[in-house]
């Protein structure tokens, strides 16, 4: 089976301090990779290099397809537009990606149907986290990369992640950057950064 993602010799440093070096891996359909490591070890940077938000110093990341729809990414420190409503966010990202917005479906799924017209700047942290999950999964990506997905989420939010990860493993692959033991158990592959 052709791998979805091939990473070869990925290395990144800031100044003289190396975050990770010479990381190589392959992900196939059904894989859930858990990236673990201490705070500041480079988990987030590793994910950002994979999805193209950071440029690695060395190595290659190879996948097939349009990055906008291949990857779904959500991170704890990712911001959303304070002046756009929840529904407008879903419309905007779908428009940019060239996919169906399915606004009603996603609003129901993330439990924000009652807040469709609320500007994102007025949402709680947990609600914003749910919105980000929806924006990441909206286009049915081949790989869903989530950085600390469970942070700021309640029990219903954790269940949402559970659903998304399970669904994603059937459609493609999933990468989770986390130190949460509950989330680590999703993975069949583990990469320890900074050990």
């Amino acid at each position: 089976m052709k791998p979805l993602l091939v990473v070869e010799g990925l290395s990144k440093r800031y100044g003289r301090q190396s975050l990770f070096q010479n990381v190589s891996l392959e992900l196939a359909r059904g894989d859930v990779l858990v990236v673990t490591g201490a705070n500041g070890s480079g988990k987030s940077t590793f994910l950002r290099c994979l999805v193209g938000l950071e440029t690695q110093d060395r190595g290659t990341v190879t996948f097939d397809g349009d990055p906008r729809t291949f990857w779904g990414f959500s991170a704890i420190d990712q911001a959303v537009y304070a002046n756009l409503t929840v529904a407008e966010h879903l419309e905007f990202t779908a428009d940019c990606r060239g996919v169906e917005a399915n606004v009603r479906f996603w609003l129901e799924r993330i439990g924000l149907a009652a807040f469709a017209d609320r500007p994102a700047g007025l949402l709680s942290t947990g609600m914003r986290a749910r919105l980000k999950l929806a924006l990441a999964a909206q286009a049915g990506p081949q790989i869903l990369a989530l950085d600390e997905p469970g942070a700021a989420l309640d029990a219903d939010g954790i269940a949402l992640i559970d659903d998304l990860v399970r669904e994603q493993a059937e459609r493609g692959a999933c990468i989770l950057a986390t130190n949460d033991p509950a989330e680590r158990r999703y993975g069949n592959l583990e990469l320890a950064i900074g050990t």
Partner: protein, 246 residues
């Protein structure tokens, strides 16, 4: 360039400087002997223009290939262009005082060249604004290419516009050099250009060594630290641990 080449070049420059005195003084100038400044001013100006134009080419190659060596070449080219540009301005200022009576009289040609220097200064400001190597190179390359139009406009178009009245002579386009002046000028231009080419290569190699030292420094610093294993370890999940996630 090897040391003997530098020595030879130095000797040739000295000979060239002496040779400028072979050219007769120019009677049309206020101080005829000082017309010989043109043998330094013009070669510096042309060399500066050539390096200004080559920097965006190197920048374009960097953006296409993401090979940092092209970025090093672009930086070296800009540095040489600025140095020769400053020499052009300096000799121009002396000429301006002697010929027109003022160190700076806002002549359009003088002013446009000063503005080109400002554009170059902004290039180095871009380089200084980014700590990340890749971002610094990409943004500097983009700026270098964005500034091509203004630089070409200021050096080649603006001074020649019909509504722009400049005191600056235009000896290349309009003539005015006799055979002796032309001979000395071409020789000096060749010398200045070759010297600057040597400086460019030297500066590029210094940059290359800095880059290699930086890379190996980082590797040495992290030698004892395994930042991540090379192979992803599969994790066997027991049925109990799967149940625990629900």
């Amino acid at each position: 360039m090897k040391t003997p080449t530098w020595i030879a070049l130095g000797i040739l420059m000295a000979v060239g400087t002496v040779a400028t005195f072979l050219a007769p003084p120019a009677p049309a100038f206020q101080v005829p002997d000082l017309a010989r400044l043109v043998f330094f001013h013009l070669p510096c100006a042309l060399t500066s223009a050539l390096f200004f134009v080559s920097a965006p080419y190197f920048a374009f190659r960097y953006l296409r290939t993401e090979d940092r060596r092209w970025d090093l070449r672009a930086e070296a080219a800009m540095e040489i262009a600025v140095v020769t540009g400053i020499l052009t301005l300096a000799t121009g200022i002396i000429f301006s005082k002697v010929q027109w009576g003022a160190w700076w009289n806002w002549d359009p040609r003088q002013t446009s060249y000063l503005l080109v220097m400002f554009i170059s200064a902004a290039y180095f400001a871009v380089r200084a604004a980014y700590g990340d190597t890749a971002r610094r190179a990409a943004n500097a390359a983009a700026y270098s290419m964005a500034s091509v139009l203004p630089v070409l406009f200021l050096i080649f178009v603006y001074p020649r516009l019909p509504m722009v009245k400049s005191l600056h002579p235009n000896v290349i386009a309009e003539g005015g050099f006799d055979s002796v002046y032309r001979g000395v000028f071409y020789s000096m231009f060749a010398l200045v250009f070759v010297a600057c080419l040597g400086l460019f290569r030297f500066r590029y190699r210094v940059g290359l060594i800095e880059m290699l030292v930086d890379d190996s420094d980082a590797e040495l610093a992290n030698r004892d630290r395994i930042a991540a294993p090379g192979v992803v370890r599969p994790v066997a999940l027991s049925p109990e641990s799967r149940k625990a996630t629900k």
